[in-house]
Symmetry: C2
């Protein structure tokens, strides 16, 4: 067979050649813009040639601090296209971590959204490798800034070559992208994506049995493009010639609902908190969401009540998926097998609430001690994953050996496996509550609490206890209309039938807001710190 | 990223692990059998261990002479699983070519269907490398045979290990399969498939935008498993856990129609002559074909009239595809782009009758001389293809340099490309009719003739002509009910409005049957030989 490498540049080339008329809809600070793939291709090539003129060479890292829009998409292909590495930086991290990441990756150039310039200005004096700042602004003039040397993205494009050829001399195992993921303690850890990994992952996103991304789709990644390449959707959607709808900076649930309706979005992707917000918006507004063929949900476990609402009330198929920064990220998707389609509605929702089957191309096992757990939906163990789009190490980081052992990624997620091979995440290994020598799953308690009509958000953490080692405490945000009207006892009684008595939370604390991580997950670490002395002082 | 090789064995491992209950329906000489993937997996491992006991080592070729059934499927995975090479042999070739192929590939073992044993017996004394003959019979006892040493497939399985592990030490570029393709002159030419090529090709078959093969499918490959791995469907269908329906030896259109109805086949694949036969059967019988979501058709161009009948009369979506032995084979599929779905019915059929878009992962161009042709649907040139599941040479064959040049496969097919990038095959370079220095497409004339209600099959060849160099002659098989009732003039007048006058065939010859190749294509070479002196004698 021909030794043709799998490269990221070839994905865009397909869109330019065969889907030149298809559209990318992009919202920026100043409005909504539309570009064809022909235009995106020419702009990407202009950028690629400009980056080379700025001195970016094969292997160099090119950092981005940006929302989901067409310029970010252009960097997605321009950097790997010239053999450089697209380094997407999570703008929600602390300035200290952002500075660490840029220096650790040795970024040569930073491409920055206008509204993120102040954040970069705060850390600029700590940056040791950056040789140029490019501001991705709509405006003709640059905003006033202390960054230098500083360039206007659109001005650079003007002087770029719209027919610039992508680098041919690329090995498919060469790095194409990288993304840092928060660590429980210490600095974020870097994951490097190869050209091969990104292309194989794009194949996986197009399979009929996973997310079935297609030319027929209008694809709106809500998950940020600075977070694991927006789950790889911009790469795959471009390859397949899908229409893309990029929702830009600081969007609201209202804006998402309007985009879904107006742009006839067929598939969208994001974390559960986004969908909780959308659900709330749909309940108050009047939107036509009939174009949606799938909501892809990952990042943390989606509550069953929410899945049920989308599936049954709004008739929107809900695709529960699982992955990590280390897995590019698609690892599992929950879909019904052909012989399950006639099951009772409740059983179908139950299957949909699992993280599902490992996708073709990857392998998994769930281990407890040194043994694989039984596939009975009960036995818990740590989920291990292997495959050609799974990281093999953290970038120049001594912590690699904690997660990568014997050819497997140790995910740190506790899971069960049912008879069909569907994974259900039970908890993070570190979030399990250890009570009297037994394990309690915080996630299962949360899901049960979220099913109560008054509950907007629920999270459960293990809190040190003098007698039982740890006991669970639930932190609850009530829906506005229920505030002050629901008490602890009602919620405990609501979930009691589903659990052994010793699983039930000792306490329920009502809050205005649950602290969240930069990617919208509940920040349990912070809750545990706040509640550290709860039982000890009491 | 992890360096995990793409291997054929991993495809079956997925079916064993996640789709153990799904079914393979298999018709053999003695009846219809059903096996689960769990059983297929165990039988495959038994076979793999038995092959090793017979001395088969990594890199050795294992030949098969067999129809589409479960045992053949087992060899598909057992041979590559132990690092050997699955060599499927076209049983419709001449004994001389079969002997050449077996010796040229240096097959160590042959697995043979009971009804094909006499064919192998005829050539056995010419075989120089075969060390064991295994007869794939249903029966407890072996049929009487002069082959030796000879083994019973089922007896070998009895003594095999159902938990035998596949070889781990496989590089994804190692050979996994091979298939010989007929040459215009001389011996057949061998194509070697790598593990990587087969796995990437399986990804391509699962994409929503190509054939969308899925767990939900009941997949019936009619194209023989001895012909380019039945277009790769057994590999991909196993990987995705699709139900498989293998129609066995000497099937009839009636049997196919019954299988479609009884086994609720959702997708089937084969050459146009198969579908002409099926269409004829559907017109006379009363079958429920509502389960069919796609007929995949390739091997040679499908006549528009047939596509129209399936699409409009039977409401069966017709997926016109293109590939060759050298392309594993899927290279293009004709599907409508999202913005074409509201076109007029005639225009939709016109698009469906093209060979379509190159599939994701491959690249194409159409060249005339040293220039790419315009994408205007008119300009003709030779189709060139490149990609990771395209052969780079013929196996130990000096003729490689004719087809593989500058990193491209020269397909020998003449094509146009429309504005959307869809390929339409116009002819084989060698089948174009050269009249008075201008080109006439034999395929376009054939398609026009096939649209006449009386015509069952039509083929057009260029015949030497003293004045014009060549002139087209049409060979026609009429439908039974029209025999003797249609004359030359009627057919010429029927197609005349579509062509320049000098394109019209000089002669129409009515035949009982058009000679066909071993894979069901019209054998134009033989027709040309028969008609060589037609104009010269006249």
């Amino acid at each position: 067979m021909m030794q043709v490498p799998l490269t990221v540049g070839s994905l865009l080339e397909r869109a330019e050649k065969f889907f030149s008329k298809k559209e990318v809809v992009s919202r920026t600070l100043s409005g909504v813009y539309r570009f064809t793939y022909k235009e995106i291709g020419q702009r990407t090539r202009r950028l690629a040639s400009s980056l080379e003129k700025l001195g970016v060479k094969k292997g160099d890292r090119v950092g981005t601090l940006a929302w989901n829009h067409h310029r970010h998409l252009e960097v997605y292909f321009a950097a790997p296209g010239i053999g450089a590495v697209l380094h997407t930086i999570n703008i929600r991290l602390s300035p200290e971590h952002i500075s660490y990441i840029i220096n650790h990756a040795e970024d040569q150039v930073l491409l920055i959204d206008e509204d993120i310039v102040p954040l970069v200005e705060r850390v600029k004096d700590t940056l040791t490798t950056v040789k140029a700042f490019i501001i991705m602004t709509d405006k003709d003039k640059l905003p006033p800034t202390t960054l230098k040397p500083v360039y206007s993205y659109e001005r650079l494009l003007e002087s770029g070559d719209p027919e610039h050829q992508f680098l041919k001399d690329i090995d498919e195992n060469d790095p194409a992208g990288m993304c840092y993921t928060s660590a429980t303690t210490g600095n974020p850890k870097g994951v490097v994506y190869s050209h091969r990994g990104i292309v194989l992952h794009s194949f996986a996103l197009g399979l009929a049995d996973t997310t079935a991304l297609s030319e027929k789709d209008s694809c709106m990644p809500v998950v940020p493009m600075f977070h694991v390449n927006a789950w790889g959707m911009p790469f795959a959607a471009t390859w397949f010639g899908s229409r893309q709808v990029l929702p830009g900076p600081m969007f609201t649930p209202k804006l998402l609902a309007q985009f879904i309706q107006d742009e006839k979005v067929t598939v969208t992707a994001g974390v559960p908190t986004i969908w909780l917000g959308l659900l709330n918006e749909l309940e108050h507004g009047d939107y036509d969401t009939s174009s949606l063929r799938a909501i892809l949900c990952g990042g943390s476990a989606a509550p069953m009540a929410m899945i049920k609402a989308f599936e049954q009330k709004y008739n929107i198929p809900f695709l529960h998926a699982y992955g990590m920064t280390e897995t590019t990220p698609l690892a599992t998707v929950s879909t019904l097998k052909s012989y399950q389609k006639d099951l009772e509605e409740e059983e179908i929702i139950n299957i949909r609430s699992k993280q599902g089957l490992i996708v073709p191309g990857l392998d998994m096992k769930v281990v407890s001690g040194d043994k694989e757990v039984q596939w009975n939906g009960n036995e818990m163990g740590e989920l291990l994953i292997r495959g050609p789009w799974i990281a093999s190490e953290y970038y120049k980081d001594e912590r690699s050996s904690e997660a990568f052992k014997d050819g497997w990624l140790y995910t740190g997620d506790v899971a069960t496996v049912d008879e069909e091979g569907n994974v259900r995440l039970v908890d993070r290994t570190k979030d399990l509550v250890k009570s009297g020598g037994e394990w309690i799953s915080s996630v299962e308690l949360e899901n049960a609490l979220m099913a109560h009509e008054a509950v907007f958000e629920a999270t459960v953490v293990g809190v040190p206890h003098p007698q039982w080692q740890e006991r669970p405490i639930a932190c609850i945000v009530l829906k506005d209309s229920y505030k002050g009207k629901v008490e602890k006892q009602e919620l405990i009684e609501f979930i009691a039938p589903q659990f052994a008595k010793w699983w039930l939370p000792d306490e329920i604390i009502f809050m205005e807001e649950i602290p969240k991580t930069s990617v919208g997950k509940f920040l349990k670490r912070e809750l545990r710190a706040r509640l550290r002395n709860y039982f000890i002082e009491a």
